[in-house]
Amino acid sequence: MKVLFFAQLREVLDCHTLDIQAQLNSVADLRAQLQQKGELWQEYLAEGKALAAVNQTLATEDTTITASDEVAFFPPVTGG
């Protein structure tokens, strides 16, 4: 699946897009897997610190994901 990062997250992780092949069932699974990539990933992808969207809709930790989904992680939004 395609994983995107935005704003501070994109900058701190120095990563805009990842392609993940692993079999994962939920946003929580994906988050846990990504957090293993290093200390910064551990810290900045913590629940509450990074929101998630699945296929361009805000998601919860339970939201299921499949290989064809686009998942995005980003900080709490600050537009307006």
């Binding site: 501070q8 969207a53 361009q56 809709t57 805000l58 709490p76 939004v77 600050t78 537009g79 307006g80």
Partner: protein
């Protein structure tokens, strides 16, 4: 039924500036049903959380932003009796005093227009994938999300 309104809602995410006069005209023209028009405009102000701001850069999640705004607008339509709705959010680099965001709502009754306009702003502030980076006298940094915005969105 909310789906049917999609064609009369205007939602734009753009680099270009907008004109309040043009937006207001589009809310009013050939619309003798709605007696109330409420508009909100957000601008780049010089002080934010104590820092002196000279400009902003607005990043967004292009594939999602329009969709998120559309969902917020449809949510507003399900809660109040509304006429026309127009939402514009700018992205990219914005200087001090520039316009950032516009929400305009027409309705038969002013209570509906006020509530929907504020609701759309409160939801936009907590649900639309946009992020501000400030250029200030102490350097450049990402704006932190405010607790007060979360509280305001939870009222509805």
């Amino acid at each position: 039924m909310a789906q049917a309104h999609t064609d009369i809602d205007f939602i734009a995410v753009q680099r270009e500036d907008f004109s309040l006069a043009v937006e207001y005209a589009k809310l009013c023209e050939n619309n003798s049903r709605d007696g109330a028009v409420v508009t909100f405009t957000g601008l780049v102000r010089d002080l934010n959380q104590g820092r002196s701001v000279s400009s902003l850069t607005l990043e967004h999640y292009p594939a999602m932003t329009h969709k998120a705004l559309q969902e917020i607008v449809q949510d507003a339509r399900s809660r109040w009796q509304l006429g026309r709705i127009r939402v514009i959010h700018r992205v990219g680099r914005l200087q001090l005093n520039e316009q950032i965001v516009f929400v305009g709502v027409s309705a038969c009754h002013r209570g509906d227009a006020f509530a929907a306009c504020e609701f759309i702003m409160d939801y936009l502030k907590t649900r639309a994938p946009l992020w501000k980076k400030e250029q200030t006298d102490s350097g450049e940094h990402w704006v932190e999300a405010k607790q007060t915005d979360q509280h305001q969105a939870r009222r509805w």
